[in-house]
Amino acid sequence: MDRSKQLMRQRLGVVGAFLGCVLLPTVIFFAERANDSLPRESFPYGWLAGILAVMALLVYSHIVAFGLSGHWKLTHARTDTLDERELQITHRATGQAYGIYAIMCLIMLYVFIAARTDLLGPHMSFVRITDKLLAFELLYVAHILPGAILAWRETPAPPERVESAEAV
């Protein structure tokens, strides 16, 4: 696989990971609402399948964008195990991720406050139903964000190509 294809694949993985983060609470919210209107004895298999499908998307995207590309390892490695180029790109990605994450946290904080104080009335039931999951997703996003920035920009050559790709 050439570098542009690899980069495209990584970017699709990043999009899939963030799409999964948005879809999971959405599907759970609608499943919860649909469950309320179902008769007690019927089990919502359709919604369960939907939740499992989104979780599969999350896992697959994570493997493609962060696992196979090695970006997860890069952003979670000890700094003394990285060389100067890896340190440089990791520091840059971590710095940018910090800025994005701070804004995301602020938005979530205000949304949670708005949901608690009933500021926006019944429209905030989404947050009330999915608040624990959203809080967990923030934790997940904190871990993947620097790797996502790297996966969006960097294309490390896979190890098996290196010995044969000695071209100038």
């Binding site: 990285l82 060389d83 100067e84 180029r85 890896e86 440089q88 490390p156 050559a157 290196v162 010995e163 790709a165 000695e166 071209a167 100038v168």
Partner: protein, 91 residues
């Protein structure tokens, strides 16, 4: 600040001496992928790394790295011979 692009002869010298990226990377203390980035000119090395590379090839730093596109080695040698000099030493 955007760094200037640095050109280098790492790939040519490595090929010439039959050294793999992994071997060079091990000697200069970087990941083998970093050698690829250096060769493609996608990463400018630190001064320390540039000196490590020049020590490995036993050549002056300014023979391996340049801020201008590198001339082919054959052309450099021809020019040196025409001037009455010999071998390496100029870009």
């Amino acid at each position: 600040m955007k760094a200037r692009k640095l050109y280098n002869r790492i790939a040519v010298l490595r090929e010439e001496r039959g050294v793999s990226r992994k071997e060079l990377a091990k000697v200069i203390g970087v990941n083998y992928q970093t050698v690829g980035y250096l060769e493609r000119g996608e990463y400018n090395p630190s001064l320390d790394l540039a000196f490590k590379i020049s020590e490995f090839f036993e050549l002056p730093v300014d023979f391996i790295f340049s801020t201008e596109p590198m001339k082919p080695l054959s052309q450099v040698l021809m020019e040196r011979q025409a001037q009455g000099g010999s071998g390496y030493g100029s870009k």
